[in-house]
Amino acid sequence: MKEEDIYSELSSIRNLMERSSRFISLSGLSGVLAGVYALTGAFIAYRLVYREGSGLRLRDFYVNEPLILWPLFAIALAVLILSICTGVWLTIRQAKRKGENFWNPVSKRLLSSLCIPLFTGGFLILALIARGEYDIIAPVSLIFYGLALVSGSHYTYSDVKFLGFLEIALGLLAALMPGFGLVFWVIGFGFLHILYGAIMHFKYDK
């Protein structure tokens, strides 16, 4: 056996161990788009709640009024669904381009480890809405999303873990500052997604 042979053998082993245990077709672009949707949604929500008038910003509504609650809920839901659809679509496209099957043991594991914290958080938020505890929704959503990313990161790029930590930290900070929910959402779901999506795109998407 020649030295090059051994090196190529070792690198092929390493490559296989990596490829079989991590899903690497996540698309950075879908992160950027999710961030853009979140910013758009936040902007519309902001315009619904605040009215621009003669230099003074007046609150038209407080978020606990039912009249504003449903439109806000609809915006949040639309952003969520749009982000998930874009993510799934771009990921499938990316996997196809790499000649990989997107539905394999790793992607299944990735999905289930993402879904457990995500659904727990989702149901908790619904319960909080039902009980009228609105000001804790922003921290809870950020924290559970962060936990989902940390748990999912075992089956994909480790960068995702750091994004998860940042979301959790942001959520805890938001819990200390009630009334700034929208600001933290904009940072966590908007800017962080765009930043991380761009980093991932340039690091891996080529």
Partner: protein
């Protein structure tokens, strides 16, 4: 240069067998079809190599059904993990020897 090959595991002489083992060591278990897709080999080829590894007791096989489709899961046995580790160490030693 002459190198003694006796530390090498005969079971891993074949590239596909070594590749199968790499996947099983990195994962709790893997099913037949996903292995086939990952390694880009034919049914018969993969089956015969899996059989060989099973005979060495390097892997364990669990057969079950999902609906009517057979679902066969493979996992590395402790002996298989040990053998794989030894094989990698032998490869490393080989590199070190050649560096001298």
């Amino acid at each position: 240069m002459k190198i003694s090959l006796e530390q090498f595991d005969k079971a891993f002489e074949n590239r596909i067998r070594l590749q199968v083992m790499s996947v099983l060591v990195a994962n709790e278990s893997y099913d037949f079809n996903s292995l086939k897709e990952l390694l880009n080999v034919t049914d018969g080829n993969l089956a015969s190599h899996l059989k060989a590894l099973e005979k060495e007791e390097y892997i364990t096989v669990t057969k079950s059904f999902i609906g009517r489709k057979p679902n066969t899961q493979y996992a590395a046995s402790p002996a298989g993990r040990e053998a794989f580790k030894k094989h990698l160490e032998a490869l490393e030693n080989l590199i070190k020897q050649q560096k001298k």
